[in-house]
Amino acid sequence: MSTICAISTPQGAGGISVIRISGDDAISVAERVFVPFGNKKVAEMAGHTCVYGRVVHNGKTVDDALLTVFLAPKSYTGENTAEISCHGGIYVTKQVLRACLENGAQLACAGEFTKRAFLNGKLSLTQAESVIETITASGEQSLKSANLTREGRLFERIKSVSDGLVTLLSGLAAWNDYPDEDIPAVEQSAIKNTLESSVSALSEILKNYDRGRIFRHGIDTAIVGKPNVGKSTLMNMLLGYNRSIVTDIAGTTRDIVEESANIGGVTLRLSDTAGIHSTGDEVESIGVQLAKNKLYGCDLVLAVFDSASPLTDDDRELISSLPQGKTVIVLNKSDLSPVLSADEFEGFSHIVEISAKNSLGMSNIENALEDIFRLHSFDENAVIFANERQKACAESALSFLTQAIGALELGETLDAVTIMIDKACDYLLELTGEKVTETVVDKVFASFCVGK
């Protein structure tokens, strides 16, 4: 079985956290992340023994910890298992998990240890009920993670690689399945070009992929609005302390200021942007451009308007460029007599009133966030899972594409090369639940004029 790992203790600032690793390679994963004090070797440890040492990641010590080894079949899951008990802080625990993930383990789905335990005959029949419950939970989680995945930017980039491969494969398929048709031969050089550009795109994705982002980041949030409507004040209100420079002079915030805030149990990664408005000031106009870019890249937009002033042309331009699904319209300064109403924001379903200056209306924002992200079901594990899955898929695909290029260079026949491309593409399509054979066949019929 593949090797999986997860944090097995409840997350929080408890005294001790346990990271469990299970599967065929569990001991070697442990060996890579855990250095015992003294001369002990992890690989030589007997089952049910324990050793004191340190967890090392990228050459740095993360924490002093205890490693307990269980050898198959005498473990909870019935597989080789290693458990690292470290000091219980969230940061340290996640660092240890991260070290395991980067050294050959995959993140376990919820309930996966238990499922394996049951299938390996370690749990009694009466426990099966709870096994199914945990798997069901994991189903929801992976569904959620699939949805999260599809909204992310990483997904978009992987998708563009798989689209290119499907196009290549369908060209090859049409050419092979309809040799008597007038279909242009797929040139070796064209195949190589597509493979090489896919390899470099995937390598780039993997290089920039930072597993830590998800631990540090949360929902990438942009605060936008024209100058001096109270964006920075809102940010400070969310953060609970003064971070942005707040003055009454329009255009005070010139760069994007980033900070994290915890709202209703979820982390918002806040960017306070320069106000969006036409400006002659060069420094400031760069800030304006940055803010506009940010709108498209982020997960959530808090668009701030002054409820006491009527909409200007700048406001209207901003409204038209807002992504409606992920935008909360924030009407600020409700302490003055309002002239703006919800009617001005047709198409937006999340409109809240606040007074940033007086810290009123936080709960309105929380409710809107809950609506957008369904916070009660937005769990960080799902996000990690989504990202890990994407990364694993990209890595496997990369390896098969590299093999395909190798085979092509050797002069192997295209049927053998295509098998490798198929496999690579299958890994990428896994993210959308498609199968390469079906997707390619559909594409052949959509794009080629073939038949009797």
Binding site: C109, K115, F118, L119, L125, A128, E129, V131, I132, E133, I135, T136, S138, G139, E140, S142, L143, L169, S170, A173, W175, N176, D177, Y178, P179, D180, E181, D182, A407, L410, G411, E412, T413, L414, D415, A416, T418, I419, M420, D422, K423, D426, G433, V436, T437, E438, V440, V441, V444, F445, C449, V450, G451, K452
Partner: protein, 630 residues
């Protein structure tokens, strides 16, 4: 009317599916009746006078390896043979032959006539009879009742067939034979869902009206590889085919008359095959194409009819003539049979088990176009499986289930019964994820032992196969052991072939792995090589050359088969399995997969559902084990 005869198996329709089904059942000892509306239409080719082609050639070889007839019939009656896709790798090599339509029919008619236990009957079957949830026989138009323990429906395009040409439509089977208009009702009454599909065929034209010097000629292969593994005589081509192209004028004529097409005017609602569009479809969908290719193929040696592959149409006859005459070489063409579209009734194959028996009706099987496929080879493959399974079932033996990694036949049946089809299904090499394993050259290795075990492959054929296997194994061992020393001749040869020379001795097998070198080409450097037949040399080369890639595919197969062996009982109440999502419950209850593997391929069943099924199975297993301990 009283019952006049009892049969074990009744097959309705004697096309490519029906003939294979009836032959297989009869050869397995079943007293079998084969019904056809016209004895003159047995194994007719109402469309292409051709057998094989990409992936279809694979199917024919698989049918042959299992003990079916199609390959032998095709070898006996072919006019021209080509191995397609040479140079693109062994996985996509496919044999395609041009067939003599009448001779093929005659060969197959004689074969079924000569078959012991097989009773050929000209009659229109108007109803399948049932005894509760069990098929019990058939009734013909004359009211005669034949009882049967199993019934195979292989009605092709005859079932409520309706031909469309321009604005004219009329009930008809293919080639102007009567349709079967009453049978559908008895199937609907039995609870079978019936759908309507459509297909089409191009015009047949007279030889004297074709200017062959204006066309490109296409000849057959010099060294013909037979379709049947048991054909060992030398085969020769006797005809050529020709290639022509449409032009702007052709397209203009079609576009000017598009409103007269029954499809574009909305009179046909049935779903046509995506892979086999009519010429008007091609022109409408691919407006920027300047020309479309067509093949001009002889229909046989005793006729002057030629088939125009690529020009299927349902436009009015005058429009057909007009657009054909715009084509270079066809300026004075005479149409003998016009092109037409045909609509027909078929079932939803997700109602079938992978044995091709209906889930809800015991002893009722479907095969061929009735199951939503298209193509003679796809039909024959299903007919063979349905015939085998009807016989095995009646004998109380375990039925034949071919998985995706075993064959294109298995892939075809898995696709049909697990995913269904929304348009007529054609086999393609791109439909198989195990292409490198499912080659046309090794169909015998994959399936002949199974065919022998079933009892369809005769002892003599099997012995010959075993001897071939022994020779292959022995030669591979020898080739792995033989050392080839460096020499001037060898260096020269390697330079000529564009591969690096060797400085120390190398194993012959290592050299064969080089893409630039072949087993046969290295013969001069292999002093002790035994004389071996082509089929053996081919296996030695391919098994060595593609060893690494084959290993990758075998890993995939192993992973797939782990779930395939987890069998799901057919009577599961999925609503009672806690933890399955609603969508999964609905899909599982509809498809009723035979294994967790099949379940995992149903769209809408996700990995968590698969996990739940595995746990549920384990729960059951332990409960059962607990009971037997008591």
């Amino acid at each position: 009317m009283p019952e006049i005869e009892n049969f074990d198996v009744a097959v309705i329709g004697a096309g490519h599916a029906g003939c294979e089904a009836a032959l297989a059942a009869a050869r397995l000892g079943m007293k079998t009746a084969l019904f056809t509306i016209s004895l003159d239409c047995i194994a007719n080719m109402p469309c292409n006078p051709s057998i094989g082609g990409t992936a279809k050639g694979h199917l024919v070889r698989e049918i042959d390896a299992l003990g079916g007839e199609m390959g032998k019939a095709a070898d006996a009656t072919f006019l021209q043979s080509r191995m397609l896709n040479l140079g693109r790798g062994p996985a996509v090599h496919s044999i395609r032959v041009q067939s003599d339509r009448v001779k093929y029919h005659t060969y197959m008619k004689k074969t079924v006539e000569a078959q012991e236990n097989l009773y050929l009957k000209q009659a229109e079957v108007t109803a399948v009879l049932f005894d509760g949830n069990k098929a019990s026989g058939v009734r013909t138009k004359l009211g005669t009742i034949y009882s049967a323990k199993a019934v195979i429906v292989s009605t092709g395009t005859y079932l409520n067939g309706e031909v469309h040409v321009g604005t004219v439509s009329y009930p008809s089977g293919p080639d102007a034979v009567s349709p079967a208009t009453e049978l559908t009702k008895s199937l609907v009454d039995a609870g079978i869902a019936i759908r309507r599909f459509k297909t089409g065929t191009p015009a047949r034209v007279h030889r004297r009206s074709i200017d062959f010097d204006k066309l490109e000629r296409q000849d057959g292969d010099e060294n013909i590889v037979p379709l049947s593994f048991s054909t060992d005589r030398k085969l020769e081509n006797t005809v050529s085919c020709y290639v022509a192209y449409t032009n702007e004028e052709t397209h203009r004529v079609i576009l000017d008359n598009i409103d007269k097409s029954p499809i574009y005017s909305g009179r046909i609602h049935a779903i046509g095959p995506r892979y086999c569009p009519s010429i008007e479809d091609k022109i409408m969908r691919f407006r920027d194409r300047e020309r479309h290719q067509l093949f001009i193929e002889p229909m046989g040696t005793d006729t002057d009819e030629f088939y125009l592959q690529g020009m299927s149409s349902s436009l009015p006859e005058d429009v057909q003539l007009k657009f054909l005459r715009t084509i270079k070489g066809l300026e004075r063409v005479e149409i003998m049979r016009n092109a037409y579209a045909i609509e027909y009734d078929c079932c939803d194959p997700t109602e079938l088990l992978p044995t091709l028996e209906f889930k809800k009706i015991d002893g009722l099987f479907g095969a061929g176009q009735f199951n939503g496929t298209s193509g003679y080879e796809e039909a024959a493959a299903q007919g063979l499986v349905a015939g085998i399974n009807a016989a095995l079932k009646l004998k109380g033996r375990q039925q034949l289930l071919l998985d995706r990694a075993s064959s294109y036949i298995g892939t075809l049946i898995d696709d049909l019964t697990t995913k269904g089809c929304s348009d007529p299904y054609r086999m393609l090499t791109s439909r198989s994820e195990y292409r490198l394993l499912l080659r046309q050259d090794n169909a015998d290795i994959r399936l002949t032992p199974i065919g022998y075990e079933i009892g369809l492959v005769p002892r003599e054929t099997f012995d010959k196969f075993c001897e071939k296997q022994r020779l292959v194994k022995q030669e591979i061992e020898r080739v792995r052991a033989v050392n080839v020393p460096p020499s001037e001749e060898l260096a020269e040869y390697f330079e000529q072939m564009g591969t690096e020379k060797i400085t120390t001795g190398a194993k012959l097998a290592q050299l064969i792995k080089r893409p630039q070198l072949t087993y046969d080409g290295l013969k001069p450097f292999d002093k002790d090589r035994p004389e071996l037949p082509f089929a053996v040399r081919e296996q030695v080369e391919l098994q060595i050359k593609y060893e690494g890639y084959i290993a990758i595919q075998l890993e995939q197969v192993e992973a797939m088969r782990k779930l395939e062996v987890k069998k799901l009982p057919p009577d599961i109440d999925y609503t009672q399995i806690k933890g399955l999502r609603l969508e999964a419950i609905e899909k599982l209850a509809k498809i009723r997969p035979l294994s967790v593997g099949q379940a995992s391929r149903i769209s809408g069943v996700n990995p968590a559902d698969v996990g739940v099924l595995l746990v549920w199975l384990e729960q059951n297993r332990r409960r059962e084990a607990g009971k037997s301990d008591d």
